[in-house]
């Protein structure tokens, strides 16, 4: 079931009403049943995978809680990792690895003829496997106690608002919330509704309006001029952001309406002034997951600069590969690793120099324009990286970037599909202004203090969605991950 579908529009009010009428474990059971209905609506046959992941990690957790033996604990953790990564590898990466292996051994004259599995990628598989993995690792590390209630644990794994595209929730954040009955708070409910509307605005109005112009161009970029490609590449940066953060907003908002608190996943990422800053703002639950379970265990920044660079590279390559079985995602990860390393080198060099220079009044005046420049530069670099993220092959990405760099056809008259393009550009400009008002906290302050302003703001969101939304049931981009 998609959030932007009629079935969800019927499902959620029914679920919401029943949810607040029930109490205790019946309410948790309703959450679980609701979550399975939500997921099974799309493909019930993949419910089995969630069940396997749930049961394996539940029993691994119990096992870890019951033994002090180091060897046994390692074995148990190994079972969890093997099972979760095994599911992920089979359904997401098997064909990719097989194809690449074939290409690798071809020069040796060996042509393996193994069958290609025609598997559909189960929605949300990367999200819930990471969630269950982190649970087992946390129990192994002794950071949390194992959950003994299967109902609560299964609900944690499959909680429908964030099941399919995050945020990736940690057991230590979510399981305690299931232990006690959530209490209805008008304040949380109202903010939840507001956040859901904001999410729908991002998805239906911005992301899907851009999809109308971006999809054909990325499908066949040859027929477009440089300016056309440039505009669409910039728009795509907003599409991917609004699509994904829109989903997160809806998920967090729905959870709020049910009395749950989910972690923040985006913090105005395009106001980032550096690559490191970007990763503190973009897909926060994934970047913190990778930090806690990959980067730090590899050694983090503890063993000298070169080891730090190596750890950053491995983490970002895995982060890239997490998005999908394609070399372009690996390249995207490598680009971000390079950016993070270059930034680290620059920061280290600059901080040494800064020790020698006091900040002058002039430099204080320059803070704002310099920050704006940094944001602009960072955004431009991000746009380049998104081209690799969006295209399916390296050569396609290079072709688009090469065509833009050739400056062949800079006249606005060469723009194709002008009406939807103008609509998308106009909406993005309005959205960017709104984001700026949110980032500098002007709008949130007003909305927090003045109840009628909140009412007008929410009503405006409804009007804009009705007037400018795209209701063609487009899938969320992150569903495929």
């Amino acid at each position: 079931m998609y959030f932007n579908s009629i079935s969800f529009l019927v499902f959620f009010p029914c679920f919401f009403t029943l949810y607040w009428l029930l109490r205790g474990s019946t309410r948790v059971a309703l959450c679980l049943i609701g979550s399975y209905i939500f997921y099974g609506w799309w493909a019930y046959e993949f419910l089995g995978l969630i069940l396997i992941s749930t049961l394996v990690d539940y029993f691994v957790g119990l096992g870890l809680g019951a033994t002090e033996s180091r060897t046994q604990r390692k074995w148990l953790l190994g079972v969890s990792i093997a099972c979760n990564l095994g599911i992920l590898a089979t359904f997401k990466y098997l064909n990719f690895f097989a194809e690449n292996l074939e290409q690798l051994v071809a020069p040796l004259g060996w042509k393996p003829d193994w069958p290609t599995l025609n598997l559909i990628l189960p929605a949300g598989i990367s999200f819930y496997t990471f969630q269950t993995l982190s649970y087992s690792i946390d129990v192994y590390r002794g950071q949390i106690s194992p959950e003994r209630n299967l109902l609560r644990f299964a609900t944690f794994v499959s909680f429908f608002p964030q099941l399919v595209a995050g945020p990736i929730v940690r057991a230590r954040e979510f399981l305690p919330q299931l232990e006690t009955d959530r209490v209805f708070h008008w304040y949380e409910f109202e903010r939840g509704v507001g956040q859901v509307l904001q999410g729908f605005l991002k998805k239906l109005v911005i992301a899907d309006s851009i999809a109308i112009v971006a999809d054909p161009m990325f499908g066949d970029p040859r027929g477009y001029s440089s300016i056309n490609l440039l505009v669409v590449v910039v728009l795509y940066a907003f599409q991917v952001y609004c699509d994904f953060s829109g989903y997160s907003d809806i998920a967090i908002g729905l959870a709020k309406m049910l009395g749950f608190k989910l972690p923040e996943n985006f913090r105005f990422p395009y106001f980032a002034t550096s690559p490191a800053d970007f990763w503190h703002r973009w897909h926060i639950t994934l970047s913190t997951w990778l930090r806690d379970y990959v980067y730090i265990p590899l050694g983090g920044n503890r063993n000298g600069e070169w080891n730090t660079y190596r750890n950053l590279t491995i983490t970002m390559l895995l982060g890239g590969l997490w998005h999908g079985a394609s070399w372009n995602f690996v390249i995207w990860g490598a680009l971000h690793a390079t950016l993070l390393i270059l930034h680290r080198v620059w920061v280290t060099t600059r901080s040494k120099n800064e020790l020698r220079h006091e900040a002058s009044p002039l430099t204080r005046w320059l803070v704002l324009p310099v920050t704006a420049l940094k944001c602009g530069a960072m955004f431009s670099i991000l746009c380049v990286t998104w081209v690799f993220f969006r295209t399916s092959t390296f050569s396609e990405a290079i072709e688009i970037l090469g065509h833009i760099a050739s400056l062949d056809g800079l006249s606005p008259s060469t723009l194709q599909n002008r009406l939807p393009l103008i609509k998308a550009c106009g909406l993005v400009m309005i959205f960017a202004t709104l984001e700026l008002a949110m980032q500098i906290k002007t709008l949130p302050r007003v909305l927090e203090r003045v109840p009628w302003a909140r009412g007008v703001y929410y009503a405006s969101l409804v009007w804009i969605i009705a007037f400018a939304g795209t209701f063609n049931g487009t899938q969320f981009i992150y569903f495929q991950f």
Binding site: R222, G223, L419, P420, G455, Y458, S460, V462, G469, F471
Partner: protein, 302 residues
């Protein structure tokens, strides 16, 4: 009762919020409707009873970018009104055509003498979203409203619930381009390049469907015209010569459609041989439209 007293403030807030959403929706829709109806966009003019002319052109984009009213005026000295539109579905054509005639009569205008109906649209599959975007004008026309209710019931219900949603359409944006000016000189101005044609030729050529629903709609257009004493000319407009070569099934399809409609069809699909007159493989630019108007005038169609 105690529940209502306890939550009075929240109930008031929710009620006021819903009232605000509803009122804003209606007021916003009214403002947009006024704004659109004040433009020179063809359908705003049509529903105001404007666009009086001797010749009316009906079709999809091939009707729109082929029969250029200024070129017709120049070639034949007659006023023409083009009510074609990009990807206009055939099933909507009888509705627009009869709405045009009824609004002309309401505005005390005499009906046109001639209808030029570009029929290649009858063989086309409708593009998604091509019909429901006309919901912008659904409260100006009961037949249009019924057509949307029949083909897109969800869109129809949504348009009744939210009036602002009616304006969630390409036609809203398009009409704003024509504030204070007529759109009757609208035509593609590009010149197709060899490279573009090569790319089109790489793809499979368009198929011509034999769809009964479209045939019924075309018959309705003819019947409405006959009822009002308007002479109808069915025409297949020019294709780019190199693209036309790939449309091998076109002659058979024209013959079939002519039989279905019991009316001759003028095949002008090969009448423009100069490629400089084409904006792309399917549409003419002003040069091509001028040539076509001269040919039609010479043949006594205008």
């Amino acid at each position: 009762m105690s529940f209502f007293i306890q939550h009075r403030n929240r109930i008031v807030w929710v009620t006021l919020f819903l009232a605000l959403v509803w009122a804003g929706d209606r007021v916003g829709a009214r403002i947009l409707d006024r704004a659109i109806m004040s433009t020179g966009f063809r359908y705003a003019e049509l529903y105001k009873g404007g666009l009086a002319a001797e010749i009316v052109i009906l079709g999809n984009s091939r009707g729109l970018h082929m029969f250029h009213p200024p070129a017709i005026r120049e070639a034949a000295g007659r006023e023409a009104a083009n009510i074609s539109y990009n990807a206009l579905p055939t099933v909507l054509m009888p509705v627009l055509w009869s709405d045009y005639l009824s609004h002309q009569l309401k505005n005390h205008q005499t009906p046109p003498k001639r209808l030029i109906f570009e029929v290649s649209c009858v063989g086309r599959e409708d593009e998604p979203g091509s019909l429901e975007r006309f919901k912008v004008f659904m409260f100006h026309s009961e037949p249009l409203s019924q057509a949307i209710a029949k083909h897109f019931p969800k869109e129809y219900v949504a348009s009744r619930v939210s009036h602002l949603y009616r304006f969630n359409s390409e036609l809203t944006l398009r009409s704003m381009f024509f504030r204070g000016k007529s759109d009757q000189d609208w035509i593609m101005t590009e010149h197709v390049t060899d490279d573009q044609i090569e790319r089109v030729l790489d793809r499979d050529p368009d198929k011509f469907l034999r769809d009964q629903q479209n045939v019924i709609a075309a018959k309705e257009v003819l019947a409405v015209a006959k009822g009002m004493g308007v002479q109808v000319d069915l025409i297949v407009a020019p294709y780019h010569p190199r693209y036309r070569e790939t449309l091998t099934e076109l002659p058979d399809w024209i013959q079939w459609l002519s039989g279905e409609l019991d009316c001759p069809i003028h095949d002008y699909s090969q009448s423009i041989s100069e490629t400089s007159g084409f904006a792309d493989h399917l549409h003419l630019n002003p040069d091509g439209a001028r040539q076509l108007a001269e040919i039609l005038d010479r043949d006594g169609i205008l």
